[in-house]
Symmetry: none
Subunit: 416 residues, 2 copies
Amino acid sequence: MRAEILSIGTELLLGDIVDTNAAYIGRRLAEIGVDVFHRATVGDNTERIVGAIGDALARADVVITTGGLGPTEDDPTREAVAAALGVSLEVSEEARRHAESLLARAGHEAASESAARQALVPGGARMIGNDRGTACGFIAEKGGKAVISMPGVPGEMRGMIESTVIPYLRSRMGRAGSVIRSRVLKVCGPGEATVEDAVRDLLHGKANPTVAPLVSLGEVELRVTAKARCSEEADAMIAAVEAEIRARLGDDVYGAGDDEIQDAAVRLLAERKLTCAVAESVTGGLIAHKLTEVPGCSEVLGLAVTSYSNDAKREVLEVPAAALRRHGAVSREVAIAMAKGAMALGGADVAVSTTGIAGPSGGSVAKPVGLVFVGLAWRQGVACARLSLFGTRSEIKERAARKALDLLRRHVLRRW
Amino acid sequence: MRAEILSIGTELLLGDIVDTNAAYIGRRLAEIGVDVFHRATVGDNTERIVGAIGDALARADVVITTGGLGPTEDDPTREAVAAALGVSLEVSEEARRHAESLLARAGHEAASESAARQALVPGGARMIGNDRGTACGFIAEKGGKAVISMPGVPGEMRGMIESTVIPYLRSRMGRAGSVIRSRVLKVCGPGEATVEDAVRDLLHGKANPTVAPLVSLGEVELRVTAKARCSEEADAMIAAVEAEIRARLGDDVYGAGDDEIQDAAVRLLAERKLTCAVAESVTGGLIAHKLTEVPGCSEVLGLAVTSYSNDAKREVLEVPAAALRRHGAVSREVAIAMAKGAMALGGADVAVSTTGIAGPSGGSVAKPVGLVFVGLAWRQGVACARLSLFGTRSEIKERAARKALDLLRRHVLRRW
């Protein structure tokens, strides 16, 4: 089955509101195996809504609209759906009673007038109840196709999707329907092209499951999507592809689903019963912030220091003044000394540090903006990586923090 | 002038990503007086992209696309735009050199192959430079209409909108048409209802300029929007309303436009030639991260400590063991001792600290999740605020960090 999503509201076009409804509906439809190839947004204008519904009905079996169902004349969705289907509006007694009782309860003055307007539905449509607001939704069928209209308030829309729309679509699909499931593998370390090279045949060679890459600031997500008759079958198909990807990428895959690199690092440190300390210069607190986003991170993180000034590096982390003088704050020697200092001060098993130039100013030919050293220190040794990052100040901080957490994770994986 | 926005990406249809780009572009177009009546989303499918561009060009003067400009074959926007305009693809030497140099710097193995693909543009198109990533955008004109294509990465897209697309559209519009300008005032401290009470007549009493509130995690934005014949006239209208709002809200208005609370704090400290230090427990590095997002913050911030464990509080910040034992880590006494310790360790003029319970676990009846103490210390004294915050772990950290930075700002405003 094929569906299209139509979001209605001038505030969406003006960018005053970000359309989270369309994403929510898209995800739920994908999960039950409904294909969505087009999505559109129009303002509160009857003619354009009628046009958009017509275009969508020409391509799809079902059109799902959100928005434009309020009680005022600025809310033209009812009229537009009726016009697009060539039927007239009629009063739904059920909807009128629902709206009237809610409005009266809220002490609304023109309860019956507003309620009367909200009770209008395209002739023959069935109601979708709304337990969170006054505006009911409706499902209007014609010629084997259907238009489903819901309010734009996210909580109300979601309630209707779960209570009525998903069951309706499932029943329309009957047993012929299939499910689509997907799982995201998170990769840090190698660049986009390296990851793609490793899994190129999976990206282009298979129609089901599909594997799609998505790149963001030093990480690659690989989304594996399978279409099957039931969830179990889809999950088994995904598991086989996941095993193949993990076999090829090894430790580059740090997690799945909602995992972030800090989740992987904290989990691993906790498993190995290790504590870590952090010394940040260029990342300026971002590594600590990321680690402390993970519930339970207090088991593994005791201390993090943002030593932004040379004084702080020297006095708090005991970076040798000679190293700062001879090599400069942005150097391999200082990165390692910072990590050693943080490990000692925090009494930790392992420490990670960053020093670099986030820009926009402060760069030179020898040490350009984006140059970052990540230091690691543990009881028996030290290590350092030199990175050349690009982007805005904020992006360089983000890339450096992710890379530092990934190096920490890889180090722990290898050594403990 | 009329424009349409086309978002390209299967991940958008599947609901894996919420389309914030379309909202951003919509807002910027509204601000310069470009009408947008339709917006659409299609997946990474050449045929459907060609169809969507054709539909949009039939209705509008300009079509703006985002997404599908990456280096892989999954990125079909270049081909689709060329096909929709009936031209062939050609290599832009400028774009090739740009992509190659960025990729080579990042140590990318297949730099020239990826760069070659990213350098293809529809024949005759002009480049849009990208200072944050490898994919350039382009403006392709034909028959008095234009297709403007940009990558889907929000930071890259925004850079192109501001540097090239807005100036291009303005020059196309010439002197005709009215302008819409807006300015956002940022308010921290009082709650939403208090802010609304103070400016209620402005919110509902005026059609032009309009004043619209937007609430997010402890802050309120007031967007003042004016429509006028020219920018100067619109700016004067906005300035009058801004003066009125500032007169009513006083120091609660900490900034305007893209200002964040950390920008206001760093600016003020720099003006007064003061240095600050930070001691974080519940915010776990987030205050330091926010401060170090501000270019030039090294003038005012030397040291920040995330003392997550009691050991770190005692040993690094010299919080008295007795205070920890008697009052617990989440207490007024410990917040103040942390701030004093950070001030001394960092040799700073003023220090701010946080201690609290971000959850999800760790709360009790006496000290529930969301309880946060913010400490302040300066040479001549100390202060402490007790906050009861709500939300997820992440939201509590965010609210606490903003509140701490706001208290620091207010303190400096009053005392120096």
